[in-house]
Symmetry: C2
Subunit: 227 residues, 2 copies
DNA sequence: AATGCTCTCTAACGGCGTCAGAGGCATCGA
DNA sequence: TCGATGCCTCTGACGCCGTTAGAGAGCATT
């Protein structure tokens, strides 16, 4: 083994190599990166997603990620689209039933991954292929119901804003009971200035699901009246 | 002038004092900080607001700001509330007219300061005193119209989400014509998968004002039908 | 055996939010 | 007049961030 002895200095590298590129674990791929990013975001939230922590979870150092993605924002865009994997519910009922079904599933996906509500606010248009499939379903169902032109656009945006806004509001207001109590007390202390808020309790909806469903019903009533 | 001569070493300080604490410019105050923050945000956007740049604009270094505010997030919260200074429009018509007026003014304030749409997404509940005044007006007008309980909460949130969501969507989608064209072309290239989007052009509303107004009309129709 | 490609590495840069603690300045009681 | 007190801004630094330059390991092809 002249080669081995001549390469003694590399013996250590052999072990490292076996650890590194071993056939045991798959190499770094976009899919593995996105999967790890979603897991990290679910566990710790959007503020704690850093390239270094993401890399560490993949057994790698941060700059290695940059061979696969251009920027951290790319990772976020990919992560958001990943939560829309799978087909939207199939058309199965009246346009109203189908729209309700797709928006309910959409909202559930956002609430399972609350960090996703913060990504569009960074001025990154949500245009991943999976998300577009859901949007296509929504728009197609509205078109089939008879909406055209400006009415079609307005209906699309109103429904989009309702589902994104309600998920974002709910995610943003998941605050502790202590904070809630303090906020409510401050409102009551200022009841001269905010009589209605003090009485009704802005910020502290105790039935997010119900408000979403009821609000959607109002909106759909208004849309239906237009047809 | 024995004092002057005995204090020769301080002559220079006198000038510095005149520059610094002189009656010419007001010292550092929360109001001055917030004013500068809003200006900086308007000019350069939320990503370019840093404590160092904010301090520089005020002729000061970054750590000095921390005597007046606890964190950078405090500055953002104060800046958002600052764009709601002034009273909301007074009650002057039907509940529907008044709600439309307050939401229109609210949306205009957000669009004048598009960075404000990104702050709630950082899970910072919008609860500044000025903003609460607008919310109080909205909720009071809805209560006077006859909404109570779950219906009142759902109506509030639906309207809140409509105005915040449409401002956020519009702000996020202020992208260049070039990007718009590329996006539209990609949709058309994929028209098998996204036939409706390709035909109608998701993302590229050319009449944000119209969609807001029309969508709001749909929602108000639905609400009115409930009374 | 040499070449070139794919992928991960080390090292570093400039910038960030924030903190500890020094020190200037005004005010006020003795 | 002087010393103490408290308000406010400073210098200097820490640890973290996203990202880049460029070296080098391993593999496939020639």
């Amino acid at each position: 083994m002249p080669k081995n002895s001549s390469a003694d200095q590399q013996v250590r590298s052999v072990w490292l190599r076996a650890q590194r590129g071993g056939r045991g674990e798959p190499p770094l791929t976009i899919d593995r990166i996105v999967e790890a990013a979603v897991a990290l975001l679910d566990e710790d939230g959007i503020d704690r997603l850093t390239m270094r922590r993401l890399a560490e979870r993949l057994g790698v150092v941060a700059p290695s990620l940059y061979w696969h993605v251009d920027t951290k924002d790319d990772v976020l865009d990919l992560a958001v689209d990943a939560i829309f994997t799978g087909q939207p519910p199939a058309a199965a009922g009246t346009w109203r039933d189908d729209v309700t079904a797709v928006l309910t599933a959409w909202r559930a996906a956002m609430l399972r991954h609350p960090w996703a509500t913060a990504v569009p606010a960074r001025r990154r248009p949500t245009i991943g292929p999976n998300f577009l499939s859901w949007m296509e379903f929504l728009q197609a169902r509205l078109a089939a119901a008879g909406f055209t032109g400006a009415g079609h656009a307005a209906a699309t945006w109103a429904l989009y804003n309702h589902v994104m806004g309600s998920a974002a509001s709910e995610a943003a207001l998941q605050i502790s009971d202590a904070e809630r109590r303090v906020g409510q007390e401050k409102l009551r202390a200022d009841r001269d200035r905010y009589p209605t808020l003090a009485a009704n309790g802005y910020l502290y909806d105790d039935d997010w699901d119900g408000s979403f469903t009821l609000g959607l019903a109002y909106l759909l009533d208004g849309l239906q009246a237009q047809l």
